[in-house]
Amino acid sequence: MITLATARRIGGQLRNDPRTIALMVLVPTLIMILLYYVIDNEQAFAQWAPVLLSIFPFLVMFLVTSISTLRERTSGTLERLMASPLRQLDLLLGYGLAFGVAAVLQVTVALAVSLTWLGYEPRGDLWALVLVALLNALLGTALGLLCSAFARSEFQAVQFMPLVMVPQILLGGVIVPREQMATVLEWISNVLPMSYALEAMRLAVIGGDLGGDFWRDIAVVAGCVLLALVLGAATLKRRTP
């Protein structure tokens, strides 16, 4: 009950801020379109489109969540909530739910434009692609909640984005296949959730029979979402110094 009320409240905050909604929903699509014309090659675009569809939901949700939870911490509303019957998980799941809905909107628009205007034709099933994109959005939300605990200001929170994002993309097998990296880097790559998310997206797009590898990747990313949420809950203390 409190979880739903919280999700509704966060949704209301977004609705009162149409510009943020527009940025969240339209920017990924605009970048897709830009990429299409920059690459100017159907086949190469077909390789990059799923990568963008993996990264964007993660990126945007990470930013939006870390800043809005940070605001909650600094404005005193978090202290008010910690003095109320609300449980930590109510707040985290409320955020996950509200931004999950926003992510659905974001992925739907980006995908719709890619499939029609940009003539993108994934060989695999659409549902698998959407599933991975949504999971990435939730991963972004969960990590954003966690990282906001370590930022003292919105300025710092924004700086966490490249720190969390860039290594995961570099080591995620997009630029260099993971098997070709130095052993140490491959080890690091093995513990970063984005590596599994990107692999799942690759498998989803290739199509054919979605085997055990795909579901293992999904399970790993989902596990990371849960882990980040639990760790995030641990950073929300009722008593503070």
Binding site: M1, I2, A5, T6, R8, R9, G12, Q13, N16, D17, S75, G76, T77, E79, R80, L81, M82, A83, S84, P85, L86, R238, R239, T240, P241
Partner: protein
Amino acid sequence: MMSSEEPAIAVTGLRVVRGAREVLHGLSFQVPKGQITGLLGPSGCGKTTLIRSIVGVQVVAGGEVTVLGRPAGSAELRRLIGYSTQNPAIYRDLSVLENLRYFAAVLGAPKTDPARVLAEVGLEGAAHQLGGTLSGGQLSRASLAVSLLGSPRLLTLDEPTVGLDPVLRKELWELFQGLADRGVTILVSSHVMDEAARCQRLVMLRDGEILADDSPSGLRARTGTEDLEQAFLRLIEERQAA
């Protein structure tokens, strides 16, 4: 008076350390039920820390705080205490009514509560205004309104009347008195001495220690002055002389 009834708040030997500094040095006092108790003292004397300890959101180094018969911070207390922080804690990107509806849902308060508390703080006209567009006085009243949701038995208000004009301040103190008459215990902090006269009991705090814990008239009699500001100064002199 009230010798048989247990107090709303009982604090014994409360010590709080923030950073490397001890902010509260072993405070002990009691707050009687159904009265307005004023927590007075200059800014930085530990009022907010003390209120946070009572609400149960402050890490405490030692001592005991009992609220409505339970240890401070107990889960059952979270519905019984209304808490208004010094800085207005409401969402700036939601309207006043949206704020109240959300916090009412969190507390499990009746659906009619948001309208009731809006009227109590005289903010009906701004119900649909976004928090971020309110004036300072409206903001603190909106924040106060949230703490009235769910009809708490104890209200802890940290400087609720800062920045309000005298008429509004008078109205709010009448509201507090009305609540106290219905049995609600109110602990209100202030650094404005002219508000002290409206309290039934005064706890004066300075540098994390209690200077006085008395009724306004008792305080006047003890210090031999009519003015509570003067009384405060006299208590400080006494303490320094001792």
